[in-house]
Symmetry: C2
Subunit: 341 residues, 2 copies
């Protein structure tokens, strides 16, 4: 059987400002590789022996960059007329699947997975339960007491390494995160899911019937042009906005977690990018042209601007277009202060 | 009588890189005012009751910017085919003076004088000795034990507040600078001079006859076009290169100093510019567009690039064209590391 990748490209992304902008959010940037994160996501599910052509759900404003970065493949591109969070986006994809029983592998397009083999193995391990109608979420093995992610408490073993989800846990404070790590049996919620299209739509019918109705109406009146599908704007605008976690996963009965340790990162900040990047002997991570003199531990990202630093350590310096941002490493959440303008 | 201003614009200027460049050195930049330092220098000697039209000595490569910044005045512009330091540059100006006994006021074009009245008063005070054939240097009242300037030890009183120069002192180390300040009777050598053209040329004839001969030959074969004079390139290239201090002032007999406290600065570094600039309530000195969040004591100079800083203090950040330079305040001499490339 084949798996249909559903690639979510809805993020607006201010967390890597000034590199990421509403016009070119994080997924369309090459941050860790020659390929953009969107392209890396496509490449991860490109083996035609396992995966069908993907369904991409994207902001209509990004139609051209999606086309350009898809290259020549047969992706179906669903262009959202407005943003309604993940649950409606996935509903559109489930309704677009040609086979109602198609297994959907739902993935954000702006995450990094360095051990793709582990990702594929987890997917294979999850398939039997998914074919039996379960909805599976990928539980990322925590590498520290992160407070920026939701957690999943894992319960009863279901075979093949999968466990029933005992509970979804909101982003915790540090004390709570450390307690979960000490307790074990918790994983990070990475926002990656595997389920049959019909299982998801049935769950929506029970837990979010208005959302399902709006998505169905938007798809029935959709504009179709080649591989592009644009759901009806008015119908989709009427759809309630909610995440798949809140709308479905936390409520449904047959929800399992497949634990996986696959070098995952959501590249959610400049500090996260520093951790991912290759460092030189002075622990500087440099992308672009920079001259560093008596300077260590800096993250430099320079596009078309040359950065020259003397005598400063542990900075984040991002030069892009007509913007330069400078802050100490460890404080990159403060980028929001600037990105909102 | 009138005084002929001689404005020296030969500096290549790397100390305010990346703002100053060989194409547009410091004197042609507006750093402390709407007007450039070159324009401020012209304005300082624009009173037609006291000053004749100036003679500007500039690098031939800067002919157009000199014209543009001179505006409509009747400046004679001497375009040096190559750089030979200040003594030959002033020799060209002395030879270009229509009256051999003209009093020349020689000034660098990249210094700041905030108390112009004090400057004028010192000039008036120096005139009697100058008319009697003395050469006068302006002795800047020291405001601290600077190690970046040469010093003048002042000797015998000559009337009108002037004193004979006892000795020129090279740039001292800190201990020596502090000792001179404690001793008193020392001033900074600001590179500003007042003398009759013929007095200077006579001193050259005695102490630097080859230089005088080369300058005379270059002027005899000069190309003259409107107000522009271009000395002969081969003849001027053969001229020994030397500063007026070494070639003449340290050797001549009748050399006086006029002490003056006139808010002088050579704006010789980004740190010096920070001291001169207006600061906001958080002690940030900002030129251009910047957003500063939890950031104090920074010098920001941004041309066409917006600078956003969070959580950093006491930095120098200069964004210009396609260059961004960042270093801690107090270390701006290190700019040379970058400017040379």
């Amino acid at each position: 059987m084949t798996i249909v990748p559903v690639i979510l490209s809805g993020g607006g992304g201010t967390r890597l400002w000034p590199l990421s902008t509403p016009i070119r959010p994080k997924q369309f940037l090459a941050l860790t590789d020659d390929r953009t994160m969107f392209q890396l996501t496509l490449d991860r599910v490109s083996d035609a022996n396992v995966f069908a052509a993907p369904i991409v759900v994207a902001n209509a404003a990004h139609a051209d960059v999606v086309d350009a970065q898809c290259g020549n493949n047969d992706a179906v591109v669903l262009l959202e007329p407005c943003a309604r969070n993940t649950a409606p986006a996935i509903a559109l994809a489930a309704l677009a699947a040609t086979d109602p029983k198609a297994v959907l592998l739902v993935m954000p397009s702006d995450h990094i997975i360095t051990d793709v083999a582990a990702f594929h193995a987890a997917t294979v391990a999850a398939l039997p339960l998914v074919e039996a109608g379960w909805m599976v979420t990928y539980g990322i093995t925590p590498t520290g007491p992160e407070t920026g992610y939701g957690y999943i408490q894992m319960g009863e073993a279901l075979g093949g390494g999968l466990q029933k989800v005992a509970r979804f846990v909101e982003k915790p404070d540090l004390v709570r995160a450390e307690a979960m790590l000490a307790e074990g049996n918790h994983s990070w919620n990475g926002g990656i899911f595997l389920f049959r299209a019909d299982a998801y739509l049935e769950a929506l019918a029970i837990y979010a019937p208005e959302m399902l109705a709006a998505a169905q109406k938007a798809m029935a009146a959709a504009n179709r042009e080649g591989n592009r599908i644009t759901p009806d704007a008015d119908a989709f605008a009427a759809c309630p906005s909610d995440s798949i976690d809140y709308a479905v996963m936390e409520k449904a009965e047959r929800v399992a977690v497949v634990p996986v340790n696959m070098g995952w990162s959501d590249v959610g900040s400049w500090d996260a990018l520093y951790d991912l990047n290759t460092k030189d002997a002075a622990a500087n991570a440099v992308t672009g042209t920079a001259r560093l003199d008596a300077a260590t531990g800096n993250l430099i990202h320079a596009d078309g601007i040359r950065v020259s630093i003397h005598g400063l350590d542990d900075l984040i310096v991002v030069a892009n277009g007509r913007e330069v941002m400078i802050m100490p490493r460890g404080s990159s959440q403060n980028v929001r202060t600037f990105a909102k303008d």
